[in-house]
Amino acid sequence: MIVAQGEGMLYLAPLVALLGGALLVFSNARYGRLLALLSVAAAFLFTVGIVARPGTLLLSGSEETGLLLYAGGPGLIFALLVTFVILVSIRARFSRREEAPVFASTLLLAAGGLIFLLSHNPLTLYLGWGLLDLSILFALAQGASPRTATRAMIINFTASLALLFSLLGAASLEGSPMSPQLLALLIVLASWVRWGLYPVQMVHIAAEEIPFLSGSALQTVTLATGGYFLTLYEWPRLEGVPRAVLLLLAGLALLYGALSTWRNPTGIRREKRLCLYLAQSQMGLLALGLLAGDTGGGQAVLLLTVSLILALSVLRVGMEAPRQRLVVKVALGVGVASLCGLPLTAGFAARWLIYDSLLRQGEGLIVGLGALSSALIVAPLLGLFITRGPDRGRQGRGGWASVATLWLLVFPLVILGLYPQIALVRPEAISESFPSLAQLWGAPSSLPIWAAIVLPLLLGYLAFSQRDTFVRFQERLLHRAGPFWERFSFPIPQGSRGTGILSYLDLEGLYGALERVGAKVCSGLRGVVMVVEGGSLGWLLLLAFIVGLFLWRG
């Protein structure tokens, strides 16, 4: 082990704490909660210590081709965030009965995320990807639907090959065996998958299916590692990437998240999906911003991801807390405000950067789309903390401890809203494009951005009030188109109000159809293989070929 700079053992300490904690939880289920809490607390403290002493750690080999960890930069910020959020989540669930495997999977997810976030060259990143996937697999085994888990793992493994190709390119003396454009495209797709952006959002779907703690950790780690991957490879600088296609996909993600949030009926069960849809719409907005403009070279990625992780964590923890209390409502309100990009919250700065860059590039349409998506999500978000009368399902559990835990997540949202440069690697970059609050009031050029942020609040109510109209329209459409649709064996989406046609957005039908076709093709080919391999047909053919070869060559 060679330490280039800094304290070597300290950089491994959070990982050791988390992995050791996972082992201890497995072996001592009775004290699982306490062990998990202590382990994550230790990891968080060590990470804080690393912030004070950044540096690199070379575990083996050379810097280009060995295992290199870098404790600094955006990776460290994300690492700090991940450990913090998971620590708070465990504390929030401390009074509940969770099984030991849930705690263990949470710790493993944190460890996997950390190793990825501290990786500093493609080889270490590739290995970190492997550990992360392994920990994700363990988390998915806690209750995700088998199909979703299988899809997620297959897509993750396939996407990791992009890193392998980039490794090969770096290693080849004759230059990359692959064209730079193709490699850039593969890297973008890999980061798309790592981030869990629509249409490969399986990991986020699975996060909603597994227990709260693992699901929260999974979504947090996915967002953080995806965000880190984006900052590492700097999307705007990847030349030759077919931007039109990616813009379309990003736009779809934005609309998918927003429309799905809008159509989602209220209710405890459906609230869990909110975090999935909200994440998709926010990530879609960020992707649009990155692809269409040059938003401070990763500053927006960092800010938006940090604010998104914090805000979603507030929602998750808040949904479990007693929502009839005012302090909980206020906390949820701050989370909602950050997701909507309102001032004095962390989401505001990120959204400002994105809109500002887009308007400078002349992409007003995308800003409009962003505003529309905000309009669609406002009312369902407000529905989270508006309770009418005694609502047992929303009363939640936990006393002052859970409320205090919730506010531990809210404070950073507010602090980052007032001082966003804390979270940034290069604070001077943001001060150029992000004027002070006093300047914002008076500047006419900021008017479109203010409009894009504030108007959705008003439009949101209008959009939500039209849901019933849409549902009636949908029912009439399905009634007329149903027989025709069924002739092609496409299932008619059945469900409660507002879930019909828009449920196709989840792409469950498309993936299912692809799997069915694939299974049929594989089954047919497998039959051919079995016929050739079974019995003597294959050997007969081989023998005839070899004898024929001998006779011909003679």
Binding site: S60, G61, L127, G130, P146, S172, E533, G538
Partner: protein, 448 residues
């Protein structure tokens, strides 16, 4: 103490183990103890010895020392596994005899005798493959026939090498020797398209027998081939080109077949076949990095095969001998076996944390030849990965508890130990690569 003990001790113990074959505890402990003792002998014996028997030399050099250590140490694991999960009453004594024959084949300094001993070991394996009345005897027969043909081809090639030695300008003999060698080793190592017998064998045979065949028997066969390449420089660069092409076809073909497959036994076979292709590619590069990577991957492959077979063996046995498909809900019922199965399969596929470490040197060595070949190897791994990850759907689903209960403690510990070893090798491959790199530098065909 002479290297002869390595061959003789297992044969001496085999009849005693046969007497206790119906008492698995005694048989397992005796067999495992014998293997362990021989492994210790291998470790303690000083290398670079030669023993003369009937005018033939038995070599014990550093290369053979580590090969035999690997063989007998691995056998200990197989015997311990079979203690709790029976592999057939004939498993313990017959495997000891086979080990002795393989040790003789590895050490004898005469290619003809080595092939004959290998063939004898292979025929005994047929009894183990059958393993009782459950399997279809046509499978064992389907294994025997190619084995005899392969053995005949290799035996014939020895005569051709004698001719080549007498008449080096006789190109026809050289070509015929290459052809017979290709056929012989192609069948023994189950190179595509000579692999036809292997999937059925792996599917029907007891798991530890399949492990021994894929992970140990083929290793000895491969070492024979490497030894031949070392001693016969007259084969020229054509041999290595052939290795490259055959390896690539095997890696890709195995990956494609693995992608199509659902039966766990057959999936293991295709994964092993594809990985063997990778090893042949590494040898075909004839470079220090490539050959060392190939040798390291050979060990990693055997580990992965053992892991998958052990895990699948537990699952199959606990679910009443179910072998054709993965039962539903295995993850909840048998978590350690599930972990071993998935991780072992992903190791065969070249998963970043485990199998990738020993694949990487081969990729690097192959790049100067033709970068497209590397894509072929990667695609082969992808096929294996998809094949194994598809099993997640039944594994994570909901199903009935297995009638046989949880994994035996010893087996679970062995699976965890193998998982740990695999992860360790994946993170610190240099512990394996560096000593192998020094060892392969001694081969005459290894270039820069």
């Amino acid at each position: 103490m002479t290297p002869l003990w390595i061959i003789v001790v297992p044969w001496i113990m085999a009849p005693w183990v046969y007497l206790f074959r119906r008492r698995s505890t005694i048989a397992a402990l005796l067999s495992a103890g014998t293997s362990l003792a021989v492994a210790v002998i291998c470790f303690l014996l000083s290398p670079d010895q030669t023993v003369w028997i009937l005018g033939r030399g038995l070599l014990f050099d550093p290369w053979r020392r580590w090969l035999l250590l690997f063989l007998f140490a691995g056998a200990v694991l197989l015997f311990l596994y079979s203690w709790h999960l029976s592999q057939g009453w004939s498993f313990f004594p017959f495997l000891l005899v086979t080990l002795g024959l393989l040790a003789g084949s590895a050490m004898v300094d005469n290619f003809l005798l080595a092939v004959l001993l290998l063939e004898l070991a292979g025929i005994i394996l047929a009894f183990l493959i059958q393993g009782g009345p459950r399997a279809d005897p046509r499978v064992a027969m389907g294994y025997l026939v190619p084995l005899i043909i392969a053995g005949s081809c290799l035996i014939f090639s020895t005569h051709l090498f004698d001719l080549v030695a007498l008449y080096p300008e006789d190109l026809a003999s050289v070509r015929l020797a290459m052809t017979t060698l290709t056929l012989g080793f192609g069948i023994l190592l189950a190179v595509v398209p000579f692999h036809l017998f292997l999937p059925a064998v792996t599917q029907e045979a007891p798991p530890m027998v399949a492990t021994f065949l894929l992970g140990f028997y083929q290793v000895v066969a491969l070492s024979l081939m490497v030894g031949l390449l070392d001693r016969q420089p007259g084969l020229g660069s054509e041999a290595f080109d052939l290795l490259l092409v055959a390896g690539l076809i095997t890696a890709l073909g195995g990956g494609v077949f693995a992608f199509l497959e659902r039966a766990p036994g057959r999936l293991l076979a295709y994964g092993a076949i594809s990985d063997l292709g990778l090893i042949l590619v590494g040898l075909g590069t004839a470079s220090g990095v490539g050959v060392a990577g190939a040798m390291a991957h050979l060990i990693n492959r055997s580990l992965a095969i053992a892991l998958v077979a052990m895990s699948w063996g537990v699952i199959s046995e606990r679910y009443g001998g179910q072998r054709s498909v993965m039962p539903m809900g295995v993850a909840r019922a048998l978590p350690w076996a599930t972990l071993g199965y998935i991780l072992g399969g992903l190791t065969l596929a070249g998963f970043p944390l485990t199998g990738f470490a020993t694949r990487w040197p081969i990729y690097l060595a192959l790049l100067p030849h033709n970068p497209l070949y590397t894509f072929g190897l990667i695609l082969g791994g992808l096929g294996i990965a998809w094949g194994y990850l598809r099993s997640l759907t039944p594994i994570l689903g909901r199903g009935e508890r297995p009638p046989g209960g949880r994994e035996p403690v010893l087996v679970a510990m062995m699976i965890v130990a193998l998982v740990g070893t695999s992860l360790l090798l994946g993170i610190y491959p240099d512990y394996l690569l560096e000593p192998l790199r020094n060892m392969v530098e001694g081969f005459s065909f290894v270039g820069g």
